[in-house]
Subunit: 199 residues, 2 copies
């Protein structure tokens, strides 16, 4: 059975780089923007169009991911396409998937380990400023806005609470250190694989 | 500076045994029921009386832990006594403290690493049945009741949300394994101590 690591993350917590390093360390495929491209390609939309319309909340709950495309709002269609891309990725091989409610999309997949990365707002503001090269007038307000959007999208699509510990196997304050975070997830993956093989 | 590990835990998640093993592995003091005894002793109450009246929500928020005892409801007085005992423990040496909102009581302590242990309800029901030797008619309902009490006490006393990842440095699903959980926290402690020494 394939092992899938899903990473949800607060904006500026370093979740994406943690996912990337983890994938490298484990020799797994890494999916992030690539997923959007795959989804966009399948739907005949441009990548930019998908990027603008994904992770936008609509007011019709998707109870069936396999509804016929064309009958739903664009952001729901994109969610369906991305969900299908996530399932395909999970079937192909071991991988790390960042964002896009992958924990929820794969919730019935027994080889799935779900991670949430967070950090105090001050540390995230520093990271966004230093590493992402972003300099909004009030960077903390900007971060909170991005998080609010992610949370509201996740809560709406999954009917769960973004950032609630019980949704994930491991939640880590990445201010403990990026290396430590990667190492801890790696240790969890090894133990998790042992457990799966025993069952 | 002393290192203090606080452990909050869902009922039946094994948080207490994880705390105990961690304390042994690190050579730290372990505080759990002992804290109640210390608090009870100081207040002249019997241990049983404290146990019955602690972690019970009252409808007056304690804005000052150092209010004069005798003027507050018993459960608030016990919270104050326990908070003082927690601060004393943190001043004496490295330690692991389970429960009693220790993460909140020590929130301004720079040597504090806050952990939350949780697990799926089915696994907790199994643990409560097998290891705690408890067999309520409907064990899952019983577990949910205990958790509800813990959450409501924590939320009331701290004005934070129990089980919300951002309150803690590390949240672990203990179904990954008790040993792994202990090892991961230990790795986090080592990294955390390096970080403190650098500052």
């Amino acid at each position: 059975m394939n092992t899938i690591i899903t990473i949800a993350r607060e904006y500026g917590s370093g979740g994406r780089i943690i996912g990337q390093r983890l994938a490298e360390a484990l020799g797994y495929e890494f999916f992030d923007r690539k997923l959007i491209e795959m989804a966009a390609e399948k739907m005949g939309f441009s990548e930019e169009y998908v990027r603008e319309n994904e992770e936008v909340k609509n007011f019709s709950f998707i109870s069936n991911f396999y509804s016929i495309p064309g009958e739903l709002p664009v952001s729901d269609q994109i969610f369906i396409a991305e969900s299908n891309a996530i399932r395909e990725a999970a079937e192909k091989g071991n991988c790390v998937i960042v964002g896009r409610c992958a924990d929820y999309v794969l919730k019935d997949h027994p080889g799935c380990l779900n991670i949430f990365i967070h950090a105090p707002i001050e540390d995230r503001a520093r990271r966004v400023f230093e590493e992402y090269d972003e300099d909004a007038p009030n960077i903390q307000v900007h971060i909170q806005k991005v998080d609010k959007k992610r949370a509201s999208y996740y809560n709406y699509m999954t009917q769960q609470k973004w950032g609630q510990a019980e949704n994930y196997d491991l939640c880590i304050n990445s201010s403990l250190g990026i290396d430590l975070t990667v190492n801890m997830i790696r240790a969890a993956v090894e133990e998790f694989q042992k457990k799966i093989q025993e069952e």
